[in-house]
Amino acid sequence: MTLIEEVSAKTNAFITVVSPEKPKNSGPLSGKTFVLKDSYVTEGIKTTAASKVLENYIPQYSATVYKRLIDAGATLVGKMNMDAWGHGATSENTDFGVVKNPWDLTRVAGGSGGGAAVAVATGCADFAIGEDTGGSIRTPAAWCGITGLKVTYGRVSRYGCIAYASSFDTVGPTARAAKECAQVLQVIAGKDPYDATSSPHPVPNYLESINRPLNDLVIGLPKEIFGEGLDKEIKTAIDQAVEIFKKLGVSVNEVSMPLLDYGVSAYYIIAPSETSSNLARYDGIRFGNGRSRFTSETKRRIMTGTYTLSAGYYDAYYKKAQQVRTLFIREYQKALSQCNILLMPVTPFPPTRIGEFVDDPVQSYLVDVFTTTQNPVGVPALALPCGFTKSNLPIGMQIVGPMFSEDRLLNIGHQYQRATNWHLQVPKL
């Protein structure tokens, strides 16, 4: 049995195992293998978004991110399991079997990009491309013990990315280390004429800036986050990370961000609204199966979004949430004027057991409490492994910067990883 076959059987990480093709080009990613969250269209290779609606869909075109990686010499080895359509924080909302955590197979890998994170954590691929709308790269990265980057909105083309919430969705790399994420980002970042929301902001040289010293840096800790609701082991791990940053020359400030408490509420109005619109195209006429094949969670989100956009409710819900979104933007601007980057946990607790939310699915929304304000604002965030619980479950933290500060985030992540080895730990399956 190959490693991929073993991981696939034990964790359900793979939807489609792709036979590696000899690369036609050589480039900066020659010799590297990668997997794609199964929400990226790949011409001629089945793409499902982990839903029975698309179980037999063979795309006739390819996502820009896929084309750029192939042109750079990388080799695709898998299309990965996920929460269907991106709807979830645990990779349990899938029609292809729950994605299990390789550190503890009774627990979830995190979502929505669980399969991609498992592939990287177990060494099935050198890197993965995930998609982050409200934590979908960062939560699985934290729960599988790897590095994951949510980019600035518009930094990487979304052409060919099956849309969840079009004003939140971001395309980003996960790998063991920040340096590897930087190598991938260098290839995939930049304006794409096929994506009108992609940014013309110039792409810096991420690998050049990655080695800068950190001694002019100020890190801000939002005080409201480090209170009662945060798991004690996660708090301890982050405190230890702060000590490492101090040794690297960084100063630490406390900042106040009370509006972060409204992230989940605003997100679970706007994201379902946008998804109700994006998923209207799946009518089973031109491709795919009919709408009765949507899972319960997807139906919940479509209906929530339809309701919040409907006549008589639009102002109280959708418009209100978009106004709060403006306040989130101001809140981040204010906090980031008092520090260079913010440090916060990725999740309020470690990986949950499979089935934990079966009786009350809305409880799973609370996994996202720290990852639902960055996407409405558009700012980038890098999830870094920073420890383990007593029961050997990975703990992750995230650093958040202003728009287009990926170079600084990757620099900080790289220097932290030179001083620690959490990101090098590999689960024993």
Partner: protein, 94 residues
């Protein structure tokens, strides 16, 4: 929330059991998001996108590398006929 009405707007076929289950769960989601009422948003304009861009256009030309042939366009159709997508009947005979 009238689940039947919303499901009809969203073109989602639901069984009676599903209607009952979703009624409860959707109320619970709305409870979660009601929290936003507490935020003072007086005179705050809504943000719908954060690119800082507007009116991004392209030339009105055909890009051959992005054109699907008729065969490609039909390749995933559950039902097609003479190069057309077959759709369910929506008008009844009088």
């Amino acid at each position: 929330m009238d689940v039947k009405h919303v499901a009809k707007l969203a073109n989602l076929p639901l069984t009676t059991d599903e209607e009952k289950m979703f009624q409860k769960q959707l109320v619970s989601i709305l409870d979660l998001v009601e929290k936003l009422k507490k935020v003072d948003t007086k005179n705050v304009s809504p943000t719908s996108q954060v690119t800082g861009q507007a009116n991004v256009f392209r030339e009105d030309i055909i890009e051959p590398e992005r054109v699907l042939t008729q065969k490609e366009a039909l390749s995933n159709a559950p039902q097609s006929h003479n190069g057309y997508f077959v759709v369910p009947r929506i008008l009844d005979e009088v």
